[in-house]
């Protein structure tokens, strides 16, 4: 029997002890003394969230294929255990070997959303690793950040030894080989980091310096010495078929958010919505071969025993063989009690037909993400969904028996007017009206339309990376306008309106486009008590506001300010293929409400063709 890091007494008094004991089906068991490299892979949130993340499952499987490497998992202890670990001085441990994280050679932390930044500091502190990279000695693991938020790593620059920019499948083995070689040769941590900076996609923040202008903008960002690349290239795996993918993912004992087989059908998105960071970061769109997907669907279901399989990608409807794939899944597994879930599908005749086969129409709801209420605004953001698409999709669905619709919008988009905002409520009402056009005897009671708005956060590497974000007051006033307008609609009783919290949004805006100086505010907020900021029950805005006061970080400078086109942005040293010129062009087009075609309808020369693959090389005829 493995010895657990926590005593029975502790495990029996905390919530969900199964979060901390490992030993799940398909978890990897290796002898820690018989490997050269130990890699702790961390998702800095609670187990149920972290275990639902596909990226870590891919890397876990890939790294463990190496005999010389043992990749183990680490998640954030929930606040009940956090308190006990501090009181009893128990160091944070990996789930597999139940041994301290600090023994590992690497601690890799995935950065999936800004609001987990304080959890990173918790993981470091509980692991007994100095929070600041500058304070770490030879005994500390090398702390690596990766994932979407690593595309603006600057607010976290003080806490990480290096960042991996881009998709993990390409450069990790080179990094591990280098580490092994240098460790055997007895080289120092510093020497390793300098050598690592030469691997494509690796950014070592301590090897770069930043100077600022008097107005607070960046004057210069440059390497400290020769031989360190001035630009860091994002990593992309161009062949997404012959690559790493876990055929036997770990099966948690407790119910996690994504309690199912996840089949990633493609990477990237052809659509080019101007607010969407993922749509730019993951260009070019690359499809996985359908035979590979069929094979993995079978093996993953067999090896996990999951009762559900979900297709995953941005805009799944754009996968060219979607119909064939879905038909295969239904025919092959539908009879064996396997549910098939299809998120991010465009609502049309095909998807309605599929959905009616795989779910109970009366219980399920349809989801539309028009993102903006007016056609004018949808043109501004390049969301190629027309009112006609929405109304006809909804009407077909209503005739098919559905009566629940969810609508997602954003408030605070650039150039938004009061009319655009009111149109959110009016669109919901038009959908309700179309429901009541169906003869009463064919209807399934009342319809239920849920309108949700989030507040727009400008993100790096999007055409809106320069724009001024709304203030908290503006956001809340806009939510009130929607709320009042909903109440003025004919079908107000069929419409329910929810809006997102403004405080979290503002912080997300700061962290998303912050520079190196923001790091000290993150540290201060953590010291003030901020932790699990992504959870409303544990979020306290005042920890952050006092941190800004104490560190002199000016929230408005980062959020409430439009950047000029020639300003050096903190993330400009990263190259994602998509060029700054293209993003600027798109920003200009958005101001004149011009729509840009999707990649298949016509290439707009975004720059991603530099990778020579995916949709860029598809036959345009």
């Amino acid at each position: 029997m493995r010895k657990l890091a926590l005593s029975d007494e502790i495990l029996l008094k905390i919530e969900k002890p199964a979060r901390y004991i490992g030993n799940e089906v398909n978890s990897v068991n290796k002898d820690v003394n018989k490997v050269d490299v130990r890699f702790a892979m961390c998702f800095p949130d609670v187990y149920e969230i972290g275990m639902s993340h596909l990226g870590i499952q891919i890397l876990y499987d890939m790294l463990n294929q190496r005999e010389d490497t043992y990749c183990e998992r680490v998640y954030s202890p929930w606040i009940d255990l956090d308190k006990i670990m501090r009181e009893e001085k128990i160091p944070l441990f990996t789930l597999e070997s139940q041994r301290p994280v600090k023994e590992c050679d690497f601690l890799g932390i995935t950065l999936q959303y800004e609001m987990c930044y304080t959890n990173i500091l918790q993981v470091l502190e509980l692991s007994l690793i100095p929070l600041l990279a500058a304070d770490r000695d030879e005994d500390c693991p090398v702390v690596i950040g990766g994932g979407p938020c690593a595309y603006n790593p600057e607010p976290l620059a003080d806490f990480f030894d290096l960042f991996y920019i881009g998709e993990g499948e390409t450069s990790y083995f080179a990094l591990l080989d280098l580490y092994k070689e240098m460790k055997e040769a007895g080289r120092t941590r510093r020497e390793f980091l300098e050598a690592a900076a030469g691997i494509p996609g690796i950014y070592v923040p301590s090897l770069y310096h930043v100077t600022y202008n008097e107005d607070g903008t960046i004057k210069e960002f440059a390497p400290n010495k020769e031989g360190i690349p001035a630009t860091v290239e994002k990593q992309v795996v161009m062949n997404v078929t012959d690559t790493y993918y876990p055929s036997a993912p770990v099966v948690p004992y407790i119910k996690v958010t994504q309690d199912r087989v996840v089949l990633e059908i493609q990477r990237g998105c052809i659509r080019g919505c101007r607010f969407c960071q993922a749509g730019m970061l993951y260009r070019p769109t690359r499809e996985r071969d359908i035979d590979m997907l069929k094979k993995y669907a079978y093996e993953m279901l067999k090896n996990t025993g999951h009762e559900e399989i979900s297709l995953s990608s941005l805009s799944s409807s754009d996968y060219s063989k979607l119909e064939e794939l879905v038909t295969y899944l239904i025919d092959e597994f539908g009879q064996k009690g396997v549910n098939i879930s299809l998120p991010s599908l465009r609502i049309d005749a095909f998807s309605l037909d599929v959905m009616s086969k795989v779910q109970d129409v009366r219980k399920s709801s349809l989801t539309f993400a028009p993102e903006a209420g007016s056609q004018r605004m949808r043109n501004v953001i390049n969301k190629g969904l027309t009112e006609e698409d929405i109304l006809s999709g909804a009407f077909q669905a209503f005739k098919g028996g559905w009566n629940k619709v969810k609508l997602y919008f954003m408030l605070g988009l650039p150039g938004e007017t009061e009319e655009d905002i009111r149109d959110i409520a009016r669109l919901a009402d038009k959908i309700a009206r179309s429901y009541y056009e169906i003869p009463k005897e064919e209807r399934n009671g009342k319809c239920q339309i849920t309108v949700s708005t989030s507040f727009f956060v400008p993100k790096p590497f999007t055409p809106f990376q320069w724009v001024r974000m709304n203030t908290m007051e503006e956001f809340l006033e806009k939510a009130r306008i929607v709320n009042r307008e909903v109440k003025d609609q004919l079908n107000r009783k069929s419409i329910k309106y929810n809006w997102h919290e403004a405080e979290v949004t503002i912080l997300e805006g700061l962290l998303a486009r912050g520079d190196r100086r923001v790091g000290k505010a993150i540290l201060k907020a953590y010291e003030n008590g901020a932790l699990y900021d992504a959870w409303s029950e544990t979020f306290h805005f005042e920890y952050w506001t006092s941190a800004f006061e104490e560190t002199g970080v000016d929230l408005a400078f980062y959020t409430d300010r439009e950047r000029s086109a020639d300003e050096i942005l903190p993330w400009d040293f990263i190259s994602i293929g998509v060029t700054k010129q293209f993003l600027l062009r798109e920003w200009e087009r958005s101001k004149s409400e011009e729509v840009t075609k999707n990649c298949r309808a016509g290439c707009s020369g975004c720059g991603a063709a530099v990778y020579k693959g995916g949709v860029c090389l598809e036959d345009k005829n």
């Binding site: 008094k13 199964a18 799940e24 119910k255």
Partner: protein
């Protein structure tokens, strides 16, 4: 495994049965579920080597093959010991038949006060010699007294030499199931209270050893392990 709650153990077995490709029967409807039930849910913190579950299959593999297939997909710490066919209908529904269970309770050295460790055997004798063993049952609304003695079928201390290393070990057989159910922790608390001692939380270890059905006629107990209710499949 003792940290996994009953509902998660159910989910674990649903997935394990799929991995092993056992030809289980599903309920009808839009979200079909496996026909599966556990004889007696095991509380979090307890270990066991006597758990039973019923499943309905379309056709059975041989016992040996089914056990091998299931064990090939088990997590460390769960092992399938037996696969038996039970009669159809109520006689085959383990949950409705459960009447008693055996437990081994370990009290690690140093938990009980010295006198209690030394004189455990005599104390147990006088504890069981009481006419009634009353405990206070706390519910959300009220507290009421209950006599648990009729639900303790057996309670004894294992000979010292067996349990010396780990601490004191007790064996008990208690009423279990839907009509009467007594938890071993409660018995240990009552025993400690009898010796004017308060048991610290999570101090003892409990293992379930066996689960029984009562095949006796009215009022006359005849316990048979659930294992004995079924037959090997050849």
């Amino acid at each position: 495994m003792k940290f996994i709650g009953h509902l998660d153990i159910m989910r674990y077995f649903q997935k394990a049965i799929r991995r092993a490709d056992i030809d289980i029967v599903y309920s009808e409807g839009f979200s079909p579920h496996m026909i599966m039930s556990f004889a007696a849910p095991l509380g979090v913190g307890l270990t066991s080597n006597g758990e039973y579950m019923d499943i309905e299959v379309k056709g059975s593999l041989s016992s040996r093959e089914a056990i091998a297939r299931l064990n090939a997909v088990m997590a460390d710490g769960i092992e399938i010991l037996s696969w038996r066919q039970v009669p159809e209908g109520k006689a085959g529904k383990a949950m409705s038949l459960v009447a008693a269970a055996d437990y081994t309770v370990t009290v690690p050295r140093g938990i009980f006060p010295e006198n209690m460790e030394k004189d455990a055997s005599e104390m147990l004798e006088s504890f069981m010699g009481q006419k009634e063993i009353t405990i206070i049952k706390k519910s959300k609304k009220s507290e009421k007294e209950a006599d648990i003695k009729p639900m303790i079928y057996r309670f004894e201390l294992l000979p010292e030499d067996k349990g010396r290393e780990e601490g004191l070990q007790f064996k008990m057989q208690l009423a279990t199931g839907s009509s009467a159910n007594l938890k071993p922790e409660l018995v240990m608390e009552a025993f400690a209270a009898f010796a004017r001692f308060e048991l610290p939380p999570f101090a003892i270890r409990v293992n379930r050893d066996e689960v029984y059905a009562d095949t006796g006629a009215e009022g006359c107990r005849n316990l048979v392990s659930l294992e004995e209710l079924g037959d090997e499949v050849g």
